[in-house]
């Protein structure tokens, strides 16, 4: 039988390293906010003639849009992101571009004022916070008959924060390298991941609950390990089927829901890991009061010295 719980310190170390990278990236690159959160306009245009992206950038700069961001889509369109444009601004911009590069057609226009952007940001933050609190309360309630229901809730929350952090970290790297933005679909994806991650964690906790009920005398570590092994193939299989559909979305739709699909992809992988290797292991460490042991185990001389 696998001994999953026995490797708990290694899992913590791995997650800690990934999260450290995520935090470093968040600090260095930050997050690139989409217009929903930072206000501005996006015009998607297609030209009949071949247009070079650098020429377009130069033309935009000469029209006064020096900080316009340009992205070339797979379909040959250009996505131009600027500060907020009024209808008149947009008409004159498109007229100027048509004069320079020939006939163009606009496939999409989206404009968000600072007022709306501030509102959206605030409500998205509230939604994420309410989701976290709601799930904590729910899990505490669902495991209310267990000796320490609060432990279960807290560990599930730590696992979901872990997943959210990994997703944010990946997007800050993608933002730094490829100019990917955090948009509303990203937030939707993060919330979906939160639900998914907790879903997985609950299945494992449910098995722990059941196994504890059957025999309370067995050591908690063994109970948790048994529960993990028993639910292992379920956890992996569900993640696999979900990954299949997410990959299908990513490869066949892409574009507008690319952000969404990538968050789900990252989140499902992180969520599967955290529900198997973080949440239940934290329960064990908490139950056994092993924090000191973990710090002493860490292969870092400095930390070791402190730990003693």
């Amino acid at each position: 039988m696998f001994d999953i719980v026995g490797k708990r310190f290694w899992f913590f170390l791995l997650s800690g390293a990934v999260i450290l990278i995520a935090i470093i990236s968040l600090v260095t690159f930050g997050l690139k906010l989409g217009i929903e959160f930072s206000s501005g306009s996006i015009v998607t245009v297609g030209f009949e003639q071949e247009v070079d992206q650098d020429d377009l950038k130069q033309e935009l700069a000469s029209l006064g849009y020096t900080n316009a961001l340009i992205q070339h889509t797979g379909g040959g369109d250009f996505i131009i992101r600027t500060h907020e444009l009024t209808s008149e601004d947009k008409i004159s911009l498109e007229d100027a571009l048509a004069e320079k590069f020939g006939h163009l057609s606009e496939t999409e226009f989206n404009s968000v004022s600072p007022m709306i952007a501030a509102e959206t940001t605030q409500n998205a933050a509230i939604a994420v916070a309410v989701a976290a609190v709601g799930i904590l309360l729910y899990i505490t309630w669902a495991f209310r008959r267990m000796p320490k229901p609060f432990h279960y809730g807290t560990c599930a929350i730590i696992a979901l924060l872990h997943d959210a952090l990994v997703a944010l970290g990946v997007f800050s790297i993608l933002g730094g390298i490829l100019d990917w933005e955090i948009n509303l679909m990203f937030i939707t994806g993060v919330l979906a991941v939160i639900g998914y991650s907790v879903n997985n964690t609950v299945v494992v906790f449910d098995r722990i609950r059941e196994n504890l009920r059957e025999d309370v005398r067995v050591d908690f570590t063994i109970v948790v390990n048994n529960s993990l092994v028993e639910t292992l193939s379920r956890s992996l299989n569900t993640s696999l089927t979900t990954l299949f559909v997410v990959l299908a979305l990513l490869f066949f739709v892409g574009a507008s829901i690319q952000n969404f699909a990538v968050v789900l992809l990252v989140g499902i992988i992180a969520g599967t890991f955290s529900s198997l290797c973080i949440a239940p292991q934290l329960l064990v460490v908490w139950e056994k009061g092993e924090w000191k042991r973990f710090i002493q185990w860490l292969p870092l001389p400095v930390v070791k010295a402190k730990g003693r």
């Binding site: 929903e36 379909g75 209808s87 939604a127 709601g134 059941e210 299949f244 559909v245 299908a248």
Partner: protein, 450 residues
């Protein structure tokens, strides 16, 4: 098969047939007009949020002002022939306008929210004052002082009874209008002052142009008090203007605070792409389930077909407005839909390994997996509820709400199909010879040490 279980099986078949009859015919646009309602991002159209400037309106009159704005916007939009326009108040001072499927020019969009469609101008002395420019020079709004207040002449003082007159003598199209009381005073004052001088007519930033593409700027002949005419327009232009002028004037100025305009072509691509993604996703999931769980997996795959039909039928019945994100939610829910089955089948395998008969293993598997299915799905429901709230609280609501709704429906239906449909299908095998062939249920003999 016991009578009650046979009854369940028949009911399941009936529901399936019903769902199919709602979803089909697919070729008559299951995702098109008559079928599932499509969001803006999939069928194109515009979604604009206006903020009304209520600073000049007394607080008691604000609701009336907004009502007035909505009525005028309705009058302006209706002639455009949109099938299901949405024009509604949001919050205290906002108006949401959604025009699905409409392909609209920027000029038309801009004129929707303009207080006055037409403004009148006189030649400006210097560049500073100028608001417009055309081949005849620089222009500034023409004004007069009425009751001690300076007012600009515009079509907001037109009565809403403009009409088009074809002057057979000159062969020209004339747009005839009448001034209201305030307009008469203004016009009298201004035309009196501008005799033998040109008067420019402007629509937004553009001069009004005749069918010869030249700016319309008649020379004022006499003082005009009650009614006037604009000549030189093409018939189409004159008709459009007359309709817009008769739609009434906005009681307060509007400012666009959110604008999303999508061309219908873009949306059509997304429908094809997401259909492909959904189909490929569902086939992959079916293959995996059948290869890994064998006979039960095959039954779960059949249940997945049932699932797809039921969800799409619900989308049509509720009706759910499908957006790209909504399709994302649906496709995602396909992957998650088998989760309940996976939970149950894993349980079944454990029970079979423990030496139970197939019938007992099926029942135990379903019963014991229930708490995990319930508790884990509730978290998804919580998230869906929060996302739905988020969607309803923000302006760019459609994607978030669409996702929340489709994921919710998907997960709820998946609980039903996994628990009722798959179980019913599996029970068909209990007591048959197939049930003796345990490898069909993917348990490796002798591996019962877990």
């Amino acid at each position: 098969m016991p009578r009650r279980k046979r009854l369940v099986f028949i009911i399941v078949l009936i529901i399936f047939a019903l769902a199919l009859s709602i979803v089909l015919p697919i070729n008559e646009g299951v995702l098109g007009k008559r079928g599932i309602r499509l969001g803006l991002d999939l069928q194109g159209g515009i979604h604009v949020v206006y903020k009304a400037d209520l600073s000049s309106v007394e607080s008691g009159e604000r609701d009336n002002a907004i009502e007035g704005v909505i009525a005028v916007l309705g009058n302006r939009i209706n002639p455009m022939g949109v099938t299901e326009p949405v024009i509604q108040k949001q919050g205290d001072d906002r108006i949401v306008v959604e025009l699905p499927g409409l392909s609209i020019t920027d000029k038309e969009k801009e004129s929707l929210s303009r207080v006055a469609i037409l403004e009148f101008g006189e030649l400006a002395a210097d560049e500073e004052e100028a608001k417009w420019e055309n081949e005849r020079g620089r222009w500034k709004p023409t004004t007069a002082i009425i009751d001690g207040e300076e007012k600009a002449l515009s079509s907001r003082y037109f009565k809403e009874n403009t009409y088009i007159y074809h002057n057979e003598r000159t062969g020209e199209i004339e747009l005839i209008f009448e001034w209201d009381e305030e307009g008469s005073k203004l016009s009298e004052e201004i035309t009196g002052r501008l005799i033998n001088k040109p008067m420019g007519i402007f629509e937004g930033n553009e001069p009004l142009r005749g069918d010869d593409e030249r700016s319309i700027a008649p020379i004022v002949q006499t003082t005009i008090t009650s009614s006037g005419r604009i000549t030189g327009l093409s018939l189409n232009e004159a008709t459009r203007l007359s309709k817009q002028l008769n739609a009434g004037r906005l009681p307060v100025p509007l400012e666009i605070i959110y604008d999303q305009t999508v061309s219908p072509i873009l949306g059509a691509d997304f429908i094809d792409m997401s259909l492909t993604a959904g189909l490929i996703g569902i086939v992959l999931v079916m293959l995996f389930m059948t290869l890994y769980y064998r006979l039960p997996g095959l039954m779960a795959s059949l249940a997945l077909v049932f699932y797809g039909a039921l969800v799409l039928a619900l989308f049509k019945l509720i009706p759910v407005t499908l957006t790209l994100a909504g399709i994302g939610g649906f496709v995602l829910s396909i992957g998650m839909a088998v989760d309940a089955n996976v939970l149950i089948f894993e349980r079944m395998k454990e029970e079979l390994r423990a030496g139970r008969t197939l019938g007992a293993a099926i029942e135990a598997g379903f019963n014991r997996a229930w708490t995990a299915i319930r508790d884990s799905n509730i978290t998804t429901f919580i998230v869906c509820g929060i996302l739905y709230w988020l969607g309803s609280s923000i302006v760019a609501s459609a994607p978030v709400m669409g996702f929340a709704l489709t994921l919710f429906i998907g997960v709820a239906v998946s609980m039903f199909t996994a628990i009722v449909v798959t179980r019913t299908l599996l029970r068909l095998f209990v007591g048959t010879r197939l049930a003796q062939r345990i490898p069909l249920f993917s348990v490796h003999a002798g591996k019962d040490n877990v």
